[in-house]
Subunit: 340 residues, 2 copies
DNA sequence: TTGTATGCGTTATCAG
DNA sequence: CTGATAACGCATACAA
């Protein structure tokens, strides 16, 4: 076994190039401030030693980590994985690393803030609407850390946000059903924990009212964004004396679960029931029937939120006024909806 | 605007508690080495100041980061997102953070090694079979960094690994079709870039040979693990003079795409063609028809790989002999396969 | 253009 | 049980 050589430091490089450590540091961060000859000599020494900068030391000195933290309630959800992918790409372009946290035990407000306070991350990308952003930020006189909330309508206007106009999207989805001639329309609701989901319900109700259509309470079903509640919703519907002819579902997974359950009972989509989902997950297009849905601009969300956060961290966006960016969802018509 | 207070240091706490910084440090890391009275005093000062340890300084001093790096070719793939979730949970339990990297530009071998060498991460969880683990590790006399490769059969026995027995799983999948009475069986192959996928093919061929069944080249279709190649495979099949009665697909996404395409041409699954997939992604159970598949133990992979890596980092597993852990996939019979 | 000196915040070592 | 001190590796102010 070869004895493990310790990783070279800036000093080792300096010695090898016959310059001071300061010069090596300069070659690395502002090469133009160093004469060409020494620059080359240092570069050669760097290559020869295989030197890599020690980030811990650099972070300590610079008081930053060139790292952002992405927090989501459930990274296992495909929705977030696509966002995460975009986040990593955008961060990488700016030279940032990405740390990931998901909701586990303990007080999230506390350990999320810890990450930032402890100099492990320079900013927070928050995808968890159930968290109190105000609390994370230390309240009224808090440290006011770089924070961008995404995917949730944030009721707190003091927090930077990148979000989808859920109300408009839900309105559009519902109008699609109405335009198809449906009048008996139900809504499989998203969990109302966070504002964005509540907005979907409002958009639905708005569209119904605008069209003069009744909102039937027995067709307003509470779901929890997973396949299981979609199935439960199907069962709930089967127990009703009358079925709606169309359903707007708060996300695709629930739509898929519901369609699946109803088919078992002989209710075919779209023959007997039109269904529109929300999100446009990867399989939506290949489900049977291919699912009509509102597509979330997931990559955009991840990318825009990340660049915004980094702009804030680097002071390119003034800290004074909070930033609010709104993205639009897009109607994707496939085969799970049809005229009445 | 309240002037931003700088975050308190261990010195601030020490002053407030009338002790030295060393004592504060001891209270935090080994409380039993400090008298009860001072311990309480220090604790109170910590609470009062809202002190959080500066990780950069700690890392610099301790020469570790208490962070691991997960590298995957494509974090947007739902497969990895579930693994990542398990990784985060397992890491968190041991007090580690998780950094995520995905394949972007540049030489991955180089920047992955950078992460470790630069003291940003203490170990690497590698899910990308196309990467040269040996290279990452610096070759024969390399630094030999803590590294666990997962999800791919690693041909290099010098690298620690946690993997699924793909050959046995593919063999089992194929036998399932054979037991159902099928004799005309095709295989939609995974990309052969990495060994694990190649193992699936070997498992298939083995099972066919054991059963004395012919392997028909025109039914051996090369895919690329996405829905698109599933569709292409469907078209390829439609162009043949004779169809197989059963197909073993290298993953669920391809199976779904293929079934979808064939249905458009009037070939129904499982009526005309039995299909078994691989992975058991979330929608497999709710596809029409619900998909028979080999379930990958994704959570197990993430958890076991993580705990193993941390054990290695912390020296609980001797560095001498590489660790190789094999997990088994499980046959999940649903409705996309039926007797001939 | 380059070098010297200093400090970032922490913990381990060594005295007391 | 506690305190003083040094060192981890880097980047900058200042001096040359």
């Amino acid at each position: 076994m070869v004895p493990t050589r310790k990783t070279p430091t800036i000093q080792d490089v300096a010695r090898k190039a016959n310059v001071s450590a300061a010069t090596v540091s300069r070659v690395l961060s502002s090469p133009e401030r160093v004469s060409e000859s020494t620059r080359e000599r240092v570069q050669a020494a760097v290559d020869a030693t295989g030197y890599t900068i020690n980030q811990a030391a650099r972070s300590l000195r610079l008081r930053n980590a060139r790292t952002i933290l992405m927090a989501a309630p459930n990274i296992g959800n495909p929705y977030y994985s696509i966002v995460l992918d975009a986040v990593i790409r955008a961060a990488s372009e700016r030279g940032y690393s990405v740390l990931v946290a998901t909701r586990i035990g303990g007080d999230p407000n506390r350990w999320l803030a810890d990450y930032l306070l402890s100099n492990r991350a320079d900013g927070l990308l928050l995808f968890d609407g159930s968290l109190n952003t105000f609390g994370i930020n230390g309240g009224e006189q808090g440290p006011n850390l770089p924070l961008v909330a995404a995917y949730d309508e944030i009721p707190d206007p003091r927090v930077n946000s990148v979000l989808v106009d859920n109300r408009a999207a839900a309105n559009r989805a519902t109008r699609h059903l109405i335009e198809l001639g449906h009048t008996r329309i139900g809504h499989l609701m998203s969990p109302s924990r966070n504002q964005s989901n509540h907005e979907r319900r409002i958009g639905f109700e708005q569209a119904m009212q605008e069209a003069g259509l009744p909102i039937r309470p027995e067709w307003m079903i509470q779901g929890d964004h997973n396949l299981g509640t979609g199935i439960a919703a199907g069962e709930h519907l089967l127990a009703q004396s009358q079925l709606p002819t169309a359903m707007f579902c708060g996300n695709d997974e629930m739509a898929i679960g519901m369609i699946h359950r109803l088919r078992l009972a002989g209710i075919e989509c779209p023959r007997d029931l039109s269904v529109i989902g929300f999100d446009d997950v990867a399989v939506a297009a290949y489900f049977a029937p291919p699912l009509t849905t509102m597509r979330q601009p997931r990559e955009d969300i991840g990318r825009v939120a990340t660049t915004t956060l980094i702009d804030i961290i680097e002071g390119e966006i003034p800290a004074g006024e909070p930033v609010h960016i709104t993205l639009r969802a897009e109607l994707v018509v496939r085969e799970s909806t049809r005229p009445i």
